[in-house]
């Protein structure tokens, strides 16, 4: 039995190393994806040009402008005389934001209702919201200092703002770690889903089924290469993320690797299930797409799980990706170990057993 499984695994690996599409997907794809995303999330928020309309010309307004220039995100590129001059700057996208400091700001302090207006370029929503965040942060820190100095109690500066500020680096860590998880996810799923489907399409599956190879041997022999390839891919992408993008690794690599393999096994189970229902490779790829969209929706990758309706939150527990993302971020960013991550680890173990079991059952029926 082991001899036949080993033989099948070796054959699969021979084929995978010759499959240019898979190699591109495993090696070049992740580097490209990560580079693009990392640039999009970090570069974009550095030194964003803003313009200031200072109608107050007070010591306070000058301190506010200095505070803007002291952030990493904002650079004041021009001072305008009146709000009427703002539009051309924003229209020609020479500035992402215009800040209007009204006359009498310092005087209004006493009454406690000073107004600072932020006008942003809505078409650059990501950059704009970061600019708002940075500006608000800068203004608030001045306000806090002022309040401490004067002993004032009312809200000091009134700025219209919806976005709370997060240091940009955290945001890009958040996105890159999710991307790392997603790349592993894709590879495990695709390799597992295509393995048997390709043989069915080429007619070689029939050839295998008339040999003394057992169904279980065939299924395990197809699962192992997918696990190997995705695990190798994890190591490669982890190194890229850790060395190339300086994502911190504060926890244990051994633990993260072990839990990653567990996650991969769970996803390979899903991939094998897809191969049980697909007649062609094309169909399998479409199924992978649908599943990936569902997974992403429930993963907290785009919308935090806590914001989903209660029922959807329960459903979200069934998708391994969600648990894995928490593990990934926990171990890498917080240095978490099993003492805090055990619920996710147990969930992964159970989901891996469940998906492999269902896949085995579905495929054995399908192969009969």
């Amino acid at each position: 039995m082991l001899f036949r499984i080993g033989n099948l695994v070796q054959k699969e690996l021979w084929q995978l190393t010759r499959d240019v599409t898979i190699l591109i997907m495993i090696l070049i794809g992740p580097v490209l994806q990560l580079t693009l995303i990392a640039r999009a999330t970090t570069q974009g928020f550095h030194y964003q040009p803003i313009v200031v309309v200072d109608q107050d010309h007070s010591a306070l307004s000058r301190r506010i402008v200095d505070a803007f220039n002291n952030t990493e995100e904002l650079r004041v590129v021009a001072f305008l005389d009146s709000p009427d001059q703002i539009d051309p700057w924003l229209d020609r996208t020479q500035a992402v934001m215009a800040v209007t400091i009204p006359a009498g700001l310092e005087a209004e302090l006493a009454r406690g209702t000073p107004q600072i207006q932020l006008l942003v370029d809505g078409t650059k929503s990501a950059g704009a919201s970061y600019a708002i965040g940075a500006a608000t942060g800068a203004i608030n820190s001045i306000a806090a200092g002022q309040r401490a100095a004067t002993g004032g109690e009312l809200p000091f500066l009134n700025v219209r703002t919806q976005v709370r500020f997060n240091p940009t680096l955290n945001i890009s860590f958040f996105v890159i770690s999710a991307q790392l998880g997603f790349i592993i996810y894709q590879v495990a799923l695709i390799v597992a889903a295509l393995g048997l489907t390709r043989e069915r399409e080429l007619g070689t599956l029939e050839q295998l089924l008339v040999t003394p190879m057992r169904r279980v041997e065939l299924i395990i022999g197809k699962a192992i290469p997918a696990v190997i390839v995705a695990s190798l891919n994890f190591i490669i992408v982890f190194l890229i993320v850790n060395q190339g993008f300086e994502l911190p690794m504060r926890g244990s690599f051994a633990l993260l690797f072990l839990l990653s393999v567990l996650f991969i096994v769970a996803e390979v189970g899903w991939g094998l299930m897809i191969s049980a229902f697909s007649h062609t490779q094309q169909q399998a790829v479409l199924f992978v797409f649908v599943l990936a969209m569902t997974d992403v929706a429930f993963s907290g990758y785009t919308v935090p799980v806590e914001r989903l309706p209660q029922v959807m939150q329960w459903i979200a527990q069934l998708f391994p990706f969600q648990h894995y993302l928490q593990i990934l971020r926990g171990v890498m960013l917080r240095g978490a170990d099993l003492s805090s991550l055990w619920p996710q680890a147990i969930a992964l173990v159970m989901l891996a057993i469940a998906s492999s079991g269902v896949a085995l059952f579905a495929l054995r029926r399908r192969l009969d």
Binding site: N7, L8, K11, W14, T204, E206, Q207, V210, P212, R214
Partner: protein, 314 residues
Amino acid sequence: MTEDTFAIQTEKLSKRFGHFVAVNSVTFNVRRGTIFGFLGPNGAGKTTTMRMLLGLLRPSGGKAKILGYDVAHQPRAVKKRIGYMSQRFSLYDDLTVEENLLFFGRTYGLRGARLRERIQYALRMADLIGREQTPGRELAGGFRQRMALGAAILHDPELIFLDEPTAGVDPVSRRSFWELLYQLVNDEGVTIFVTTHYMDEAEQCQELAFIHGGQIVAQGSPADLKVTLMRGVVIELTPDDPPEAMRLLKEASAAGALRVDDIALYGAQIHLVAQDAAQAQQQLAEVLTTGGVQFDPPDVIRPSLEDVFLSAIR
């Protein structure tokens, strides 16, 4: 001992898909050490029957014994002893000839010296020496076919199933392929079960079964079938305008002016099946002369398998 005499024995083997009966109570025996041809038009139940014998499909009824083992209950005992070559010469295009043979050999449990020896044998037999490192996709049709046969016989099977093995292969390769099959039967004593719809190939088999509409309509050696199955005699006619002649003859037959059982066009010839040859020859001469079609004097000929087959399913 029937188990020593027969490689395949089926008893009322049936397969239904929903309401459709693909194979209807099929019973036949295949003697060991022979080439057994399984003939029938597309959709007649050929492939379904073979898939049941291979253990790829569960029969809805009846049973099949392969080399003395019940396929339904001892599938692995059967699989170790049979070889199978599908229509598509299923092998891995991205692996070399040698890798394909290594993989299939090991799948059948061969290893070490025995594996190397069998691979050498398969390479020699398939005339693939020197092409060991060629990827499957670069092999021409005839080589692919022989390599697939090579992969199917690595484990020295007692019985080989071939599903339309020469579809899409040129005539020269076809001839040399059949010579290989004879070699296997004569030298190694294997049994070959082959489906085909080439009648010239069917003539090469020692035993034939015709399947039509899921039922076996005739069985026997090609020579026997021509005697026992052919109702009437075959008259061959060579007219100068075959389509026009066909039209005239069919009209006459429908009107009762020509008493024949069947009229079929064979290239430039027309075959007519009649109970009374002399009467039919006289009638067709009248029909054609009246219609203005020139023709060589018609002959009574030995029926081809195709004539027999068409006669059997009429």
